[in-house]
Symmetry: C2
Subunit: 358 residues, 2 copies
DNA sequence: GTTCATGATGAGAACGGTCTCTCGCTCCAT
DNA sequence: ATGGAGCGAGAGACCGTTCTCATCATGAAC
């Protein structure tokens, strides 16, 4: 242990050698005014003379003053901080976060990130956010059950992105899966495809919606008997597995609607490995328009979720609920947009079969 | 109790409708002890009777008490929080963060994430971390110049991951590029390759080291006249460009050492698109061992940076500097390991030429 | 010349914790 | 008895802000 001479020697010595944090008091002293006034001026509030204002601002700048958000939070009773929980492995989450930053900033909120990781489940990730006094939570692709969500909502406004919340008092923002899927199916049908299968996303967020939307869209086009769902997931391996499965079939589909872009990529890889051309022999549609799909060598036709708007709505929901307490739980569904690139084309009859029996 | 005619009604009403935050005072009241004791017990310090301890813990649990880290920071003078700056688009960063979490936790540190994004440069990302009172900073793949690093280091211990820091008082942790590259080259040479090119990472972190390491390794194997570096970058497009270039050549290399996995992927895609088999006609080695390379359909031979150890060292550096103030700047270089998978094999003479003129 | 808004400034109490100190007790050697 | 140790518990200062309220000039209005 440390010898105890002065008050809290440990704390002092921890930062030893390092410049002490510059506080408002230092600025006040340097400018020759009171702390109160410094606070006022730094927060850009009226009530200080122009000359004083200048002097204080200059002093703050020279000292390299940086407000201590811990103290601010404590004093304000509000942190003006939004917590975002995400999965670092999901490119879509990355896109969302990028979109959330500027929006939150515009509304005067700070953003804190907390990732789920092996050994760090949602509960912990969220606990960290709450501990850091986030006033509202945005959950990207959460698996949380209704009970957890409900209990969260008791301590902070909670918005779930990408799926229905299923808990009272919790907002959700997501893509209108029905429309996205329908656009994709319509596109394929108009190209001349009939045998269109769907690789689903298993129990991932939004996938049950997409599944039923696919069925509905097919029925709507009179293709009820062609409906076929292959169980999958939101990663490359699922796509590979499905691709391998299809390669072995006698009369495989001419088009595939994948669970998401990663899944589509896996699928395409498997198909091309089996010498099946995309889109020559099989058309592939992804879902997400993640940065992967833009890449020139991939050039994936995909359904773009409007990240920008989703982020905007999510932040807005959180903030509104923060300000007007108990609103009813909202469920915002945004229109997605089909981005046609190079992986879809009219079907070429029988080529697939030929190729796969090479 | 505070039934008094409200000081700060604004603050109170901001959280209107929402349950008030449970504080230590509430727990203390419920357990019939003082705040001090509650604090003691919750921090797991000696000095409280077993019975009291139980009573307090139960009370805290029942009330759903959650320590307020803002207040803790303020009171402690220390935040015990590590700030990590990252780029959400880099899979390697994701791996790092996943590794950092448990290590930091073991050392009793909290982790805050701040991402760079369009419209949010390193300066801002770091400002956010500092504002939230991070005691130390870990920068993943930073572009920051020496001046910025030096000024950062004045306010908090700073560790740069993936490149040399180049600023005094700033630690760096990275892979011993020389060894990784040498292993890769040796592996290829032992398989029988001589014509081995390197696609470099442009001005990305670590790439100049890899470039010279490649030259050295080639010379060491007596292949000085085979040295060839193709300018590239750390993404798929660079790989494609290089691949396209090579496809057009008369006597292309039999093996390629890519800047990183993403680059390798692009390269492979381009090659396969040109009907060139990997590894049959060209062997490809990546760098990073990101989750992409594990995928069964990719199965990339790659140089694994030991994420685990890098994270450990980075956190350790930060913490040690935190505790022992002004140590000299360290530069830890960790041994990488070549992971041989399915994209490397002995060369087949002339096949590449045949294939590419098909 | 006294009274009053008005605008600039300062004093001091929160906020929710941590930490040092002191206090009252019991236990045991003198 | 007497005087410490040793331990459980509480008092109160403090961390760096924000916010309310009081104070103090200053000049316009009466």
């Amino acid at each position: 242990m440390s010898e105890q001479l002065g008050p809290r020697p440990a704390a002092r010595q921890a930062g030893a050698g390092r410049a002490q944090r510059v506080t408002m008091a230092d600025v006040a002293a340097k400018a020759g005014v009171s702390r109160t006034l410094v606070s006022l001026i730094l927060r850009d509030q009226p009530g200080a003379g122009a000359a004083t204002r200048d002097r204080v601002l200059r002093a703050a700048d020279e000292l390299g003053y940086r407000p201590d958000s811990a103290a601010q939070m404590l004093a304000r009773g509000r942190s003006r901080t939004l917590g975002v929980m995400l999965d670092l492995d999901q490119p879509f989450h990355a896109e969302m976060v990028k979109a959330v930053y500027p929006i939150a900033e515009r509304l005067g909120y700070d953003v804190l990130l907390s990732a789920v990781a092996p050994g760090r489940d949602e509960r912990r990730a969220l606990g960290a956010l709450l501990g850091h006094r986030c006033e509202a939570l945005v959950l990207l692709g959460s698996d949380a059950d209704a009970r957890l969500l409900a209990s969260l909502a008791e301590s902070a406004p909670t918005v779930v992105v990408g799926r229905k919340a299923g808990a009272p008092g919790v907002d959700s923002v997501r893509t209108a899966e029905t429309k996205g899927v329908r656009q994709a199916v319509d596109h394929l049908v108009e190209l001349g495809h009939r045998r269109i299968v769907h690789i689903d996303g298993g129990k991932g967020p939004g996938s049950s919606d997409r599944r039923s939307a696919y069925r509905a869209a097919m029925r709507r086009r009179g293709l009820a008997e062609e409906v076929r769902v292959i169980p999958g997931a939101h990663d490359e391996d699922a796509g590979i597995a499905a691709g391998t499965l299809l390669l072995g079939e006698e009369s495989p589909p001419t088009a595939v609607l994948a669970a998401n872009d990663r899944c589509a990529l896996g699928l395409m890889h498997a198909l091309r490995g089996g010498r099946v051309e995309v889109p020559g022999e099989v058309s592939v549609v992804g879902y997400d328009d993640s940065h992967l799909s833009h890449l020139s060598h991939i050039n994936l036709t995909t359904v773009r979720q409007d990240t920008e708007s989703i982020a905007e709505q999510a932040v807005r929901c959180a903030v509104e609920r923060l300000e007007h307490a108990a609103l009813p739980g909202r469920d915002v569904a945004l229109d997605p947009k089909l981005i046609v690139r190079a992986t879809t084309a009219p079907p070429r009859r029988n080529l697939l079969i030929e190729a796969s029996t090479n």
